[in-house]
């Protein structure tokens, strides 16, 4: 699995960090092998550096082409934007991610936003589609429908 590492990236922020590391490495290739090694040691996370070293060790791999393909692959992964009413824990993010991946039947990146105004639920934006499934939407709709009852109740 060439890009198995992508499966470990769940959020868009993480994908952006990885993309920056790949671009730094690609640029350093043009400055010589020493510079590339230096960048690999100093500006890339160790787990990702090990992954790159394993790739270099394989004789049939051209590292520059691999890095370019990797960047292209990252860019092609669709993003699911979720606006939540709370800041989720890592475990919650994992659960959400798993559910969305199984629903989309492909790898995706989560772009998580935080807005307490929506009260609960989520607003989902995926590939140009927007769906407000927040509690705020339901809440306001219910309030509008129940406005008269509320007012009558207030009068009592």
């Amino acid at each position: 699995m060439e890009y198995e590492i992508i499966g470990n990236i769940k959020t868009l922020d993480s994908a952006e960090v990885l993309k920056q590391e790949l671009e730094v490495l690609l640029n350093s290739l043009y400055s010589g092998k020493e510079e590339f090694e230096s960048v690999l040691r100093t500006k890339v996370r160790s787990s990702f550096a090990d992954f790159i070293r394993r790739k270099i060790s394989q004789e049939d791999v051209r590292i520059d082409l691999f890095l370019k393909d990797f960047i292209k692959k990252l860019d092609s992964v669709p993003v699911v934007k979720l606006i939540l009413a709370f800041e989720p824990s890592e475990e919650t993010v994992n659960r959400i991610y798993s559910y969305i991946v199984s629903a989309c039947k492909r790898e995706v990146f989560l772009d998580l936003g935080y807005s307490p105004d929506i009260i609960g639920g989520a607003i989902i934006i995926y590939r140009g589609k927007y769906k407000d499934l927040s509690f705020k939407y339901v809440f306001e709709r219910e309030f509008e429908e129940e406005k008269k009852k509320i007012l009558e109740f207030m009068k009592i």
Binding site: V80, L82, L84, A85, F86, P88, S89, T92, R95, I96, Y99, I100, A103, C104, P116, I119, G120, G121, A122, I124, Y126, R127, G128, K129, Y130, K131, L133, S134, F135, K136, F139, E140, F143, K147, I150, L151, M154
Partner: protein, 234 residues
């Protein structure tokens, strides 16, 4: 023997001139003679101025005397006339005065009678006239009062209607504002309560429910991407 005609004319001319000359001399002689005689007679007719003065004085004296006499006569006759007629004049004046007084009194009494009659008739006439006028004015006045009353009633009714409408509109506006405020307050309170009461577990459950709903609505399917805009609207 023939005589030249021009010679005859010349002779006639000379003869005429001679006759005129002789006549002129004769006239001059006569004039000279008259002057001489006048000069001679003038010495004999001269009158002394003193005598002329005396004559004039005497003449004026006579004129004065005559005038004085005539004046005296006139004065004496006027005195007599005065004495004779003074009484009658007095009587005449008194009579005239009496007559005038009588005429005046008669006139006054007549004027009084007429005035009294007129004054007695005036109230009746005025009364009739005024009553007639008052009746006309009264009718007009009643009509005007009625009209004004109706107009005032209409105006008041219109004003009331307008005020009622404005009050109703304002009341509606205020009620809507109040209702919105109440709903907004209730909403805010409810939201705060919900935000406080929903814990992380419940939040996660709500998110998972939302994702299930999205999945059910095919939000995550690529097939639906072609109709993305429709999905967005939903």
């Amino acid at each position: 023997m023939q005589i030249d005609q021009s010679t005859v004319y010349l002779v006639i001319l000379i003869f005429s001139i001679l006759i005129i000359f002789i006549l002129g001399l004769f006239m001059a002689y006569l004039k000279l003679l008259r002057n001489y005689l006048d000069t001679k007679e003038g010495k004999d007719r001269y009158i002394d101025p003193k005598e002329l003065l005396l004559r004039a004085h005497a003449k004026s004296q006579r004129i004065l005397e005559d005038a004085t006499d005539k004046a005296n006569k006139i004065l004496s006759s006027s005195e007599v006339f005065k004495v004779k007629n003074l009484d009658s004049i007095q009587k005449q004046i008194e009579k005239l005065h009496f007559d005038n007084l009588k005429v005046y009194q008669d006139s006054v009494s007549k004027i009084q009678d007429v005035s009294l009659r007129m004054l007695q008739n005036v109230p009746e006439y005025i009364k009739t006239l005024i009553t007639k006028e008052i009746l006309i004015v009264k009718d007009d006045l009643f009509a005007e009062i009625k009209k004004a009353n109706e107009s005032a009633k209409d105006l008041v009714a219109q004003a009331y209607r307008k005020v009622d409408e404005e009050v109703a509109e304002y009341k509606k506006y205020r009620m809507e504002a109040l209702e919105n405020t109440i709903v907004s307050i209730v909403q805010q309170i409810s939201r705060r309560v919900l935000n406080r009461e929903i814990n992380l577990v419940e939040h996660e459950k709500l998110v998972m429910k939302a994702l299930e709903e999205a999945k059910r609505q095919n939000i995550f399917s690529d097939e639906n991407n072609k109709n993305g805009e429709e999905a967005v609207k939903s």
